[in-house]
């Protein structure tokens, strides 16, 4: 059931063009306006505003702005690449033998560190335990060079 109040709400929200009214209320609003002079006057007022809204011009695109956008996009890295690129570099480094080289380097360092020091004082036996060797290999001084 279309009430006068609802017809007013529709005219004031959507204007006087029935095509812009809610489809399920369209016929009822048209019927209400047809038999109510006050609603007809309101429709005329809203039709005037509809006409003014037709003057709401849109900005035409400028080629320079579009070219600036394309240039900006070419300088912009896609987020999926930002996140996946480090992983791909890490994976390719592993596949390229980097891990094998690192492991070989650690083993060689351990073996060298495990040999008795030739310049060690006689009264101080150069007893090198595994723990000491590992400490030597991973000392802060040497690690700084790797990092």
């Amino acid at each position: 059931m279309m009430t006068r109040e609802r017809a007013i709400e529709i005219l004031e929200a959507f204007g006087a063009n029935p095509e812009r009214w809610p489809a399920d209320e369209r016929h009822a609003v048209e019927a209400a306006i047809a038999e109510d002079a006050g609603l007809q006057a309101l429709a005329d007022r809203e039709r005037e505003l509809d006409s003014r809204l037709m003057d709401w011009n849109a900005l035409p695109p400028r080629a320079a702005a579009m070219e600036a956008l394309f240039a900006a996009a070419e300088q912009t890295v896609q987020s999926n690449k930002v996140w996946s690129a480090p992983a791909r570099r890490w994976n390719s480094w592993l596949a390229g033998g980097g891990a094998v080289a690192l492991a070989a380097g650690i083993v060689a360092a351990l073996m060298l560190a495990g040999q008795p020091a030739t310049q060690a004082p006689v009264n101080t036996p150069a007893e090198v335990t595994d723990t000491a060797a590992i400490t030597l290999v991973f000392s802060a001084e040497q690690s700084e060079g790797w990092l």
Binding site: W56, P61, L69
Partner: protein, 187 residues
């Protein structure tokens, strides 16, 4: 889903793999619509172009944000543009130069007709500037783009009753502002 949906979805697939040519095609398809909406919500050309650029760069940078199963690209893009414009509008003073309006106003058949249209356009824009940004956005989408209430509701992420309320208050505010401007002009 229509041909446009398939075309946009195919372009977005290519954009996901970093295809810059596909991005250009997508921009060419939707730039004018995005600029119309941004221009109507923000008023000024520079701000509108900046907002549209930001929206499209989001598309380029984060193409996975668009889910073709959940809707058409145009609606999703319009939603991004509207949100960016509303964010910008909060920090923006209403400044519309006459030059911009003159550029946007349609040419009339005679200089007098053009001047008349420009005058009407200036007054409408001045009246629009008095409205809150969300009302402007609803009016831009419903009247400017001719979208349905449900489409506007989807783009603004509100329900249809809220759209109706924004349109109603927007029209009332516009009528009042234009009436005030007419009185000022007559005085």
């Amino acid at each position: 889903m229509d041909e446009s949906w398939h075309a946009d979805t195919a372009l977005m697939e290519r954009i996901r793999s970093g295809d810059n040519a596909a991005f250009r095609l997508l921009v060419n398809r939707h730039y004018a619509m995005a600029l119309r909406v941004a221009g109507r919500v923000l008023g000024g050309r520079e701000e509108a172009e900046d907002a549209v650029q930001e929206a499209f760069l989001k598309v380029w940078r984060m193409p996975d944000r668009f889910d073709a199963e959940r809707g058409v690209f145009k609606s999703w893009l319009a939603r991004v543009v509207v949100n960016l414009c509303l964010d910008r509008r909060r920090a923006l003073k209403p400044v519309d130069s006459i030059e911009v309006l003159a550029e946007a106003a349609d040419e009339g058949p005679t200089p007098e007709e053009h001047a008349l249209r420009l005058d009407r356009s200036v007054r409408l824009t001045q009246a629009m500037n008095t409205l809150p940004p969300r009302q402007r956005a609803a009016l831009a989408l419903f009247y400017g783009e001719g979208l349905s209430m449900s489409e506007v509701a989807e783009m603004m992420e509100i329900n249809v009753k809220a759209v109706e309320s924004l349109l109603s208050r927007g029209r009332a505010g516009l009528r009042e502002a234009m009436s005030g401007l007419a009185e000022e002009a007559a005085a």
